[in-house]
Structure formats: structure tokens, C-alpha cells
């Protein structure tokens, strides 16, 4: 197996008026080509920061990141990013927001228009092509941004809580769709999420991060047959993985059993 991404002792300290904010502490991680990796961790543990450093959009405080044969020093462009917010351009229609990817990259738009329509249909936004973002709900906007990230068929996909703003039903559907797309195209995917079950359902490996400053707490290979179904979540094997991860968060004090100290008193 070829290595797609090598993250080596990467750290990040944000400068701030009251001293630095230590966001990421020595993260090392190798991702194989075509692998689906989920990055799971509590809020504020540095998941987005790590993702942005991989894309070369936020500077590292230390360490190296290599994607393919390229050392990431500036913006790395041979990828698709789904940001934590939909991040659409308000002045463009849905279609033009998706096609922005092609426009900026200077690719011939003709073949991609068809693909854009297919992607929009996949995420259930057929008929919304000429709407503006303000006419869409938050979840619909996020689905547009997923189409934008997939349009140019990038070999590497960075997704920052892409389904966080979606309702449970749409989320389930898109989990399956993402698995389909990934199985068909064999992209390398790094998928950030808060949800233990989403991570276990989708990933080949779940990287569990500790609270801030984030470092890798555990790496858990998920050995469940593909394609996974929503029903997979009810299998004992799935439950065992989820329980193991939940146990870690409890150990780190991210999750507390009911009745323990630290509860909010009314």
C-alpha cells in the first residue's frame, strides 16, 4: 500500500494576547491511499486545526506534513475540502457555487455541469440549482458544499464535520452515499466528526483525539464488512467498538456518568 498522507510530529500553538493557545500537541499519523480515516474528538481538541494544517491553510508550529510526494508548506490544492461551515458565496446560485471549483481551477466546465447535476441530485437538491444560499436551510447549504468538494473528483477529501448541521435522517442517507462514492472512487478520506457511531460506521480506522491540546489517544481499526448498512449499527461488533471508544472519553472526563461530580446544579 502506498502512503497518501504522512503527518509527522505536527504541533500548533496559536498566538494570542494572553499567551499562546496550545491547540495540537505532536500528532503523527500515516494514512494509506484509499483509506477512510475518521478523526474523532471532543470540541476544541484541534481537529479543524489539524485539517487546515494538512491543507496548508494554517501554518504549523512544528513537524512536517507530506501528501503524496509533496511537502505541504503552502496551500495544497489537489484535494477537496468540506469546511465546518457551508462556506458558500452568498452572491452565487447553488449551481454557480458548486461550479466555482471548476471555474477557479480553470477547467473546462462542460463535462462538469452534468456531474454537478448528478451530485446535487444525490444530496437531494434537485430543482434548487438556481436558488441562492439564503433560500436554503443550514443543512441544505452544507450539502451544496459537499457537492462543491466532490465535483472535481479529488484524490484526497478532507471533511470537517460535514454532517454536523444535518437532521438524523439526511445524515444517515449521506453517510451511505459517502461510503458509495468512496467505494466507487477509492479516494483517501479524512473525516472529522463528533459522533462515535458515525466514525465507526464509516471508517477503516478511527483516530480518537484527547481533549485540548489534542494528541492522538488511540487508533482503532474498524474491521466490519463493507458495504456497511445502517443496520450495521445494531450488530454486536459495532456496539463493541462504540463502547470501547465511549469508555475512553469517560476515562478522559469528556463524558461523565450520571450522578458523578461536576454536574450542573439547578
Amino acid at each position: 500500500m502506498t502512503l497518501a498522507v504522512r503527518i509527522d510530529k505536527v504541533t500548533k500553538t496559536y498566538a494570542s494576547a494572553t499567551g499562546g493557545i496550545f491547540a495540537v500537541e505532536e500528532v503523527s499519523l500515516d494514512i494509506e491511499e484509499g483509506e477512510f480515516v475518521a478523526l474523532l474528538g471532543p470540541s476544541g481538541c484541534g481537529k479543524s486545526t489539524l485539517l487546515m494544517m494538512m491543507a496548508g491553510l494554517v501554518t504549523k508550529s512544528g513537524g512536517t506534513i507530506q501528501i503524496g510526494t509533496t511537502k505541504v508548506e503552502g496551500p495544497y490544492t489537489n484535494l477537496g475540502i468540506v469546511f465546518q461551515e457551508a462556506n458558500l458565496l452568498d452572491w452565487r446560485t447553488v449551481m454557480k457555487n458548486v461550479m466555482l471549483q471548476i471555474e477557479i481551477r480553470g477547467l473546462d466546465p462542460t463535462p462538469y455541469r452534468q456531474r454537478a447535476n448528478e451530485l446535487l441530485r444525490m444530496v437531494g437538491l434537485e430543482g434548487y440549482e438556481n436558488r441562492h444560499p439564503y433560500e436554503l436551510s443550514g443543512g441544505m447549504q452544507q450539502r451544496v458544499s459537499i457537492c462543491r468538494a466532490l465535483l472535481h473528483d479529488p484524490p484526497l477529501l478532507l471533511m470537517d464535520e460535514p454532517f454536523g448541521a444535518l437532521d438524523a435522517l439526511t445524515r444517515d442517507q449521506l453517510n451511505l452515499d459517502i461510503q458509495d462514492i468512496w467505494m466507487a472512487s477509492k479516494k483517501t478520506v479524512l473525516f472529522v466528526t463528533h459522533s462515535i457511531s458515525e466514525a465507526v460506521l464509516l471508517a477503516d480506522r478511527v483516530i480518537v483525539m484527547t481533549p485540548r491540546p489534542g494528541k492522538i489517544g488511540a487508533v482503532i481499526p474498524i474491521d466490519l464488512p463493507r458495504p456497511r448498512q445502517l443496520g450495521t449499527r445494531e450488530t454486536p461488533a459495532f456496539g463493541a467498538y462504540a463502547k470501547r471508544i465511549r469508555g475512553m472519553f469517560e476515562e478522559w472526563g469528556v463524558l461523565r456518568q450520571h450522578g458523578e461530580t461536576g454536574e450542573v446544579k439547578p
Partner: protein
């Protein structure tokens, strides 16, 4: 009576109330102001050279229509030329300031500082430099009206979401693409805010220029009418000037609605109640 009141409330506001179009409100307000003005002048027996009654202003307007409208046309030219200069120079300078750190540190503070100088005070200097023709008026209109544009454009261009810049860079956008596809459209609402302030300032600027020294224009007519205590003509001139100012403002407002229909400020106009 009571029964009727109850039934009208159950029917809901739309069923019983007559819809007044939005443009009617300022007109109604104006009618009220004119009525109070007219009654006030009569009740307190105000001399016409101090405050002429509304109808005297209107007769003065019709009697002097040719000279007033020609003068207004001339002043309108000054306003438009000064405003056009403001747009070009203001937006241009703002772009330069936002793209070059050195300009931000050198030119920008000077521009801001220059706004503290009262323009009325340096206007006579312009007459010395450029004579009594149209040039000094255009320049004063420009000088007063370019500041709102430069400030709002700088703010608009700067206030782009970091995440949008991340998006641009992750797609390999060139500096020109970042500017034209991201920063400039993002700045349009702020720029339009500046344009609206600027056009009203340009009207004031042109009049100030004509007050300092002029042989044409509505400002000169106002000055002469004032000197002769032709207060009715003075009011007629102010009326024309105000109408032109409002129309100019509305033109920008209409363009704004078309250009940035996607923006929050425009959506609120279309039915969403705060």
C-alpha cells in the same frame, strides 16, 4: 359598534386595513409638514421674507422655472462629475490601500487626517487656483464625497471571512481571482452604503463650491435670492435641489437592489419583518 369591532379583529389585519404603498408614507408626511407650515405662517402672521407660505414658494418656482431648471442642470453636472471622480478615485485608492500594506501605513492616515480640515475653509483656495469655472466646484464636490466611499470600500474589502479565503486558496485561486470572485462581491453591500452617503455629500459639495464664487448654478441663485430677501425664490431653489438629491439617492438605491439582491439588507426590504 362593539360587534363590528370584534368582527373586524377576527377577520385579521389584512382583510380590513387598506394597504398603503410604501412610497405613499413620505408623501403623506410631506403633506402634513406643508399643512403645519401653511397654518403656522397664517396663525403667527410670519412675514413672507422670513418664511414664505408654501403657495408663494410654488408660484416662485413656476415663475422662475426656466432659470431655476437651467441652473439646476448646471449644478447637476458638477454633482455628477464630482461623484464620478469620487467613485473612481475612492474605489481605486481603497483597492490600493487594501492590497499594499505600505499604502495602508502611509496614504490612509493622510486621507483620514485630511478629512478633519473643513472643506469650506479650503474652498476659496480652489477659486484662486482654478478660477470661477466648473472645475473648482467639481473638485470640492469630489473632496467632500470621496471619503465615505474610500472608508466603506476599505472596510468591505477587508471584512471577508477567513474561511472564504481558505476556500479560495484550497482551489488554487490567483490573487486576481481572490479579488474579483471573492473580495469584491463580498464588499458590494459596504460599497453601496458608501455610495449613498457619497451622493448626498456631492450635492452639498457642489453648492458649497458655488457659494464661494460662481456665475452659474443653483447655489448662485440661492445666494442672490438671499441677498435680495427673495425668500420665496430661495425656498423654490432649495425645493428643486432637495428633489434632485432624493432622486439621485433613489437611483443608487434601485441599482443596489438589483446588484446585491442576495444580501441581508435587501431581503429585509422584501417582506421579512424585524
Amino acid at each position: 359598534m362593539t360587534a363590528e369591532a370584534v368582527s373586524s379583529t377576527t377577520k385579521g389585519p389584512d382583510a380590513t386595513r387598506v394597504r398603503v404603498p410604501d412610497w405613499m408614507y413620505p408623501i403623506l408626511a410631506l403633506v402634513v409638514v406643508i399643512a403645519i407650515w401653511d397654518i403656522g405662517v397664517r396663525v403667527f402672521d410670519v412675514k413672507a421674507f422670513i418664511l414664505p407660505p408654501p403657495w408663494k414658494m410654488m408660484t416662485a418656482l413656476f415663475k422662475n422655472w426656466t432659470s431655476l431648471s437651467l441652473a439646476m442642470l448646471y449644478t447637476l453636472m458638477e454633482i455628477m462629475a464630482g461623484f464620478a471622480m469620487s467613485v473612481i478615485v475612492g474605489v481605486g485608492l481603497a483597492i490600493a490601500i487594501v492590497s499594499a500594506r505600505i499604502l495602508e501605513k502611509t496614504v490612509f492616515p493622510l486621507i483620514v487626517g485630511s478629512q478633519v480640515i473643513p472643506k469650506v475653509a479650503i474652498a476659496p483656495l480652489f477659486v484662486i487656483w482654478f478660477g470661477f469655472g466648473i472645475t473648482p466646484k467639481i473638485l470640492i464636490a469630489f473632496l467632500i464625497s470621496f471619503f465615505p466611499i474610500i472608508i466603506s470600500t476599505v472596510i468591505g474589502l477587508r471584512s471577508i471571512d477567513l474561511l472564504k479565503l481558505h476556500l479560495a486558496r484550497s482551489m488554487g485561486a490567483s490573487p486576481a481571482q481572490v479579488f474579483f470572485r471573492f473580495r469584491l462581491p463580498n464588499a458590494m453591500p459596504a460599497i453601496f452604503g458608501g455610495l449613498k452617503l457619497s451622493i448626498t455629500a456631492a450635492v452639498i459639495g457642489a453648492i458649497v463650491g458655488e457659494f464661494i464664487g460662481s456665475d452659474k448654478g443653483i447655489g448662485r441663485i440661492l445666494l442672490i435670492a438671499n441677498g435680495n430677501l427673495d425668500t420665496d425664490v430661495l425656498f423654490a431653489g432649495i425645493l428643486i435641489l432637495s428633489i434632485v438629491g432624493v432622486v439621485l439617492f433613489l437611483i443608487i438605491d434601485v441599482i443596489e437592489r438589483i446588484v446585491i439582491r442576495w444580501h441581508v439588507s435587501q431581503r429585509l426590504k422584501h417582506g421579512v419583518v424585524l
